[in-house]
Amino acid sequence: MAQESKIKDYDLFILEGALNSTTAVNLTLKGQSTIGGVSGVVTVPNDFVMKIKNGIITNTYTATITVTIQAYNGTTTVPLYTVEVPAGSTVNISDNWFSMTVSPGYYLQIVGSASSTGYVYLNAYFVKGGSTPF
């Protein structure tokens, strides 16, 4: 897709969230480009979709946990990706094999398995287009 080939580092923004057991936690904005200190849920605006480029998931708990990244629009939950993370380790999600698309009106959440602690960082960007990935 031509638009995606134009995506550069300056289009990326960082979504972050801390795992809280099986409670769904909203991913919020870490910063965009040179800007810091801004946070908030990033809802995909109309006429755009959000793509996840890459990220990391770190488990600070003492046992293996399962982490799910999901999209949520206030009503509907759409699981996008689930991964097992061993105790004390970090899973790197590289752009080579990681591509998720989030529809307009949705924002991202993370859910862990029981007792999960840790954190998630994702690099995301907006692409213009009205497609409905899910």
Binding site: Q3, K6, I7, K8, Y10, D11, F13, L29, Q32, S33, T34, I35, V38, G40, V42, T43, V44, P45, N46, D47, F48, Y125, F126, K128
Partner: protein, 240 residues
């Protein structure tokens, strides 16, 4: 990719529906300039559009409002946005970052809407098809849609709009083609250009396609000659 004019090309600037001023380009000097609104102007990030898309946070600026920082004035730093010579015209292209930033060219010195054609266009807040964004004119490959021309004493206005749900910090990548020009004063040459016998690049001043003759004082540009193109007869009338 931006199509830069070169020496000996002919540039025709339309100033109204029937009037052109022609210039032969004698020297050019092109470069790119990255302009970060955050570092240069302390521009706060453009706020996120609210989630129900009820409003933009438009920010208005002009090219001559892109000065070098005050602390550099009187130092040996060139202000690339300052045109002082009447025989210079700048051809500029704008690459937009981040890609979803929307840039709407408007009449300079006015925050009123957009593209003064037969009617002013007041876009619906969710209507994003006005102007261009970084998908249409990428940061490192500015496209023809962002092409604009500036003469000394004139200006180009932009409105920046953030259509997405996060604050963004605009950065422009200007490709600036500084051109030293000589006015064409011969009506026969002007006629040949209009007839297509002499190739020329025909454009409008600024990025606004409209009748702007009233806002240009041609006596500021020595020997610039306004040619009246009478379409029915193909006749070209020289002189101001």
């Amino acid at each position: 990719m931006a199509d830069l004019l070169k020496e000996n090309y002919i540039l025709g600037l339309s100033v109204s529906d029937t009037e052109y001023v022609f210039w032969r380009i004698s020297r050019t000097n092109s470069f790119s300039l990255i302009y970060n609104f955050y570092t240069e102007q302390n521009l706060a990030p453009l706020s996120a559009v609210n989630t129900n898309m009820n409003g933009y946070s438009p920010y208005y600026t002009q090219v001559t409002s892109f000065p070098i920082p005050q602390s550099f004035i009187n130092t040996n730093v060139t202000d690339m946005f300052k045109i002082t010579n009447a025989n210079e015209i700048w051809q500029i292209f704008v690459g937009v970052s981040p890609s979803y930033l929307r840039v709407v060219p408007i009449q300079p010195s006015s925050s009123a809407p957009i593209y003064h054609l037969d009617q002013s266009i007041n876009p619906l807040k969710t209507f994003m098809e006005i102007g261009y964004d970084g998908f249409m004119s990428p940061f490192d490959d500015p496209s023809d849609i962002s092409e604009a021309y500036i003469l000394s004493g004139l200006n180009i206005g932009f409105v920046l709009q953030n259509p997405v749900s996060i604050p963004i910090s605009p950065v422009f990548n200007f490709i600036i083609n500084r051109m030293v020009v000589e006015p064409i004063t011969d009506p026969a040459t002007a006629k040949a250009i209009i007839d297509g016998r002499i190739p020329a690049h025909l454009v409008s001043v600024s990025s606004i396609r409209q009748d702007i003759k009233s806002s240009i004082n041609w006596s500021n540009y020595p020997n610039a000659t306004v040619f009246n193109i009478i379409e029915k007869t193909g006749k070209v009338i020289g002189g101001r």
